[in-house]
Symmetry: C2
Subunit: 111 residues, 2 copies
Amino acid sequence: MGKSDYLGAFEELVLLAVARLGEDGYGMTLRTEIQERTGRDVSIGSVYSTLERLEAKQLVVSREGDPTPVRGGRARRHFQVAPDGVRALQNSRAASERMWEGLDLGAADRA
Amino acid sequence: MGKSDYLGAFEELVLLAVARLGEDGYGMTLRTEIQERTGRDVSIGSVYSTLERLEAKQLVVSREGDPTPVRGGRARRHFQVAPDGVRALQNSRAASERMWEGLDLGAADRA
DNA sequence: TTGATTTTTTTCGTGTTTGTAGAATAAACT
DNA sequence: AGTTTATTCTACAAACACGAAAAAAATCAA
C-alpha cells in the first residue's frame, strides 16, 4: 500500500540540492539552489516538509549548526545526504536514463 | 495553490512510456514498458489513473482502438503524447540535467 | 443462434503519500 | 525592545497505488 522506496519528483530535487551543497546546505540555501538551477519558484515550507520526510526515510541526516555566528537569526540546521540517499539518487537516475535512452521526442510528436 | 504544471515522478515515467511506444501504446503495453525499463513493479491501476490525469492536463491524447482484432477482450485505448506533453518532458529533463550537472555523489557521501 | 464462458482491457472506489503554502514560533544579534 | 534569520506547524490539494469490479469482444456448446 502506497509504501514505495521511490523518490517523489520534489523529493529528488531537494535531495539533489542537499548533495550539491555538501555540508553547508540548510533550508534557505537549499531553496535558492533549487530555484536558481530549475527556475522554479519554491516555497520554503515545501522544502522543510520534504526535508523532514527525507530524514524520516533516512535519506538525509541533519545536525545543528554552530549557534555563534556573527549575524542575527536562529541557528541553522544543516543537511547531508545519507548512504541510502545516494543509492536512491543513483537508482532514480538509472531508471530515468533507461526511459530516455534512444527516445526521439520529435518522432513521438509527429506520429 | 497546489496548481503546478510540473510532472510528478510517476507521471513522467508514464509519459515517457507513451512517447516510446508511439501510436501503439495502451494501458497494458505501457505498463510492461515501464516495468522492463525500470525494473519496477507497476500496478495497472496506477498506470490508468495517471494516464487519465495526463489526458486531463492535455499532455496526452487517446483514441479508441480498432474493435476488430482476432482476439478476445475489450477494445484498446491508445495514447499519444500531445505537444504540451513534449514540452513538459523537455522541461523536466532540462531541470534534471541542471541539478545533476557537475555533481559527484561520492563526494557528497564522503563529506 | 442464443447464451454461458473465457480473455483482455478499462474503470471505480478507497486509502496513503507527496506537494504546497503561509502563518506562527524560535533563537540569535544590536 | 526590535530586527533578522531560520525553522516548525497546520491544513489542504494533488499524486500514487491497488485490487475489485465492470466492459466488451471473442469462442464454445447445445
